[in-house]
Amino acid sequence: MTSIKDPKKYNVIGTRPVRPDGTDKVTGRALYGADFEITGLLHGKILRSPHPHARIKSINFDEALKIDGVLAVVTSEDLPDNPDGISSIAYGRGNILAKDKVLYVGHAIAGVAAIDPHTAEEALEAIKVEYEILSPSLSVEEAMDDSSEIIHENAFMKEFGEMTTTNNNIDEHFQHKMGNVSKGFEEADLVVEGKYSTVMVHQGYIEPHAATALWKADGTITVWNSTQGSFPDRDEMSDILDVPISKIKVVPLEIGGGFGGKIPIYQEPVAALLSKKTGKPVKILMSRKEVFESTGPTPGGYTWVKVGVKNNGKITAMQAELAFEAGAFPGSPVGMGSQCVFAAYNCDNQLVDGYDVIVNKPKTAAYRAPGSPNAAFATEQVIDEISKKLNIDPIELRLLNAVKEGDRRVDGPKFPVIGLTEVLEAMKNSPQYKKSLDGPNKGRGIAVGYWFNVGLQSSCSITVNSDGTISLVEGSTDIGGSRASIAMQAAETLGISYEDVNPTVADTDLVGYTAVTGGSRTTFATGYAAHLAADEVKSKMIKRAAKIWGISVDSVNYEKGQFSSKSDPMLNMTFKELAKELEGSGGSIAGTGSINPKKVGGSFAGSIADIEYDPETGKVEILDFTSIQDAGKAIHPSYVEGQMQGGSVQGIGWALNEEYFYDKQGVMNNSTLLDYRMPTSLDLPKINTIIVEVPDPSHPYGVRGVGEANIVPPTPAIANAIRQATGVRFNFLPINPAAIVKNTNGK
């Protein structure tokens, strides 16, 4: 048996239909953020800091306004005041347009609106800014050192929501404790520890950020953008601009990739302010350089891990310290990294400390399972080292210590139903793991990783059309085919065919509050909302059939799209036939669903990597790669496989080549897609996938969010494979050809 599958069989769920937005996407007709057009459109560009840390002494844009075709300039002066000083809103405004200080190269200082993008660029060159240069901190070690310049002078280190009196560029200290680690380490027969470092990497979506904003004379604002969440965008716009949400509408266009990076807004408020000044809609598109330097990558930093085990492999104690770069403003995912670092292991004695460190680099944003890959890069290599020292198979070692339902995670809660054991068994029985890997310079590595399902609110509404199709309106922007998976769940609940569901992703005026497309929540929560809406439609249709037939509601049976009477076999009609009768029997039927789920289960994933390295050039070739993940229930298996393959390849790029390469002046030297080296088709083999299904009992179809956990194990799996092949354990990323050659001495 190579996998564990949910035995439940469905009519629509588990099939692989073509997505409803597919034709538009293969013909170029689909409208993404940059494709949006509207009458009177102006074009905006943003002036950005060339210095990583400096005080702004003056900004003069008189010359810029004199240029023919330049219509307006905005700076932080055009944003509302910050009476509270340090607050998340003040920080938010500070990242949109720098106030008083620039805190990273690429930090936005001013926005310009002009009749075309080239004229806007000319205007940027005419804006004069005077700086007082300050010394930057470009790593967590530098920032935490006593001699470094304090970046936010009025911010003190927080511990569980409270400011301490320490002012040292550490914005927050997290801690989780369970049992007694000192005692646990004393009981161990073997203790292994290591400090593992990573650097910033970017989500790497192919579509740069794109937004158009219109601030009308009546005070309402409309935004058309590519976003992972129109409702959260509306909330953020409201906070930043101090405008009530009732006056803001966000219309999501198609989105060309996000992975967490399109959850924050960047140019939207600037475009809105420029629109306010000019009275016209303003479109601002980011260049690729701006995407790298001015949006949020995921942090670098270090994770130090120490694990104690008995000679039989049973873990007795686990301790970790994580320090992640927040970037210029607080909010690295170190808290979540701290929760995930030991999530796969059942151990009563754990201590984890996490530090969110301010550095003069762009404010970090979420990147697929944020914080967890950085942490797993450490833990999974320490566990691998233990498996070698004790001569226990790496999968068996993990099976011995794997968390199960009822085991506690270090931050406290017990795991609900969870499929780590099943994932490990599937790895053990996989074709790749069973195949032997022979020959010199080759190595195999495995690893596992965890990510949550963030829950959060979703809404959906369904209307029955007279031809028996349904129009389904939901608010989850579709990055990967979710509109199909959501439609499939509605079709399943209603007992109609997938082709009869017409899903639309709607703007903030047309559907109830729906949180981000991210956090592995969409197929779960928005699918659940669709299921509830479909259930309401079903019961209304049953009532209507009863009315038409003049029988009691209890006498109506509804199964597989057929209404029938329990007492009279002559009475039956299909969903389509009843739909035709609705208008004449009381009017059209609609249903709504809204959910903010309390119970959600997370997902475990595993990677198996076979590599071969060239001692002369240091190049690592991926010979074979398998991604294994617990999907609970795969609604559309092709899209689940797609998530697993996509996350795996991002992890492969992270392991072997991707990095933010900074020079000593704090300037990123490789902010192009040539030098920021993401995998191409030629770098990879086919990515095998094994979908494990341990249904999540808190979802009507057992769905687990799968978008993220698959990016967690690839980097340590590859590092473990390289250790196997070269004899060298790499405690930093990326393990690029130069690093291999330097550290293996051509072994």
């Binding site: 998340s88 511990e159 569980f160 929501g161 409270e162 200290h173 997290f174 801690q175 989780h176 404790k177 989500q203 996000g258 992975f259 967490g260 990076g261 959850i263 995921t298 995912p333 808290g335 979540m336 929760q339 944003a365 979420a366 990147y367 697929r368 399972a369 944020p370 931050d411 406290g412 809660p413 017990k414 795991f415 609900p416 990510w451 949550f452 963030v454 829950g455 959060l456 609110q457 981000v516 991210g518 956090g519 592995s520 929540r521 903010n596 309390k598 119970k599 959600v600 993220e708």
Partner: protein, 87 residues
């Protein structure tokens, strides 16, 4: 009585007690009763009439969107965690 797990960074309020049974039908009452026993701890968890935005409450392992309003059973576990997001 529900079992409340005290976050390690707040152990200074509880003399290093890491978990304690507290009465209350919902999280709000439990937090108030906890504050009676360990004065000052409530101000670390609550801002105005809500749980602080950077903190999540989990009852029986499930993070509740209802914060202080969430019902608690007599044998429930209550945890306070840093809020999670995703990408």
């Amino acid at each position: 009585m529900a079992t409340v797990f005290i976050p390690s960074l707040l152990h200074q309020f509880t003399n290093n007690v890491s978990q304690i049974d507290v009465e209350g039908p919902n999280v709000r009452t439990i937090v108030n009763n906890l504050d009676l026993k360990f004065p000052g701890i409530k101000s670390r968890l609550v801002e105005g009439h809500k749980i602080k935005p950077s903190i999540s409450v989990a009852v029986d392992g499930n993070i509740t969107p209802m914060g202080l309003l969430e019902d608690v059973e007599p044998d429930s576990e209550v945890h306070f965690l840093p809020a999670i997001s995703g990408g």
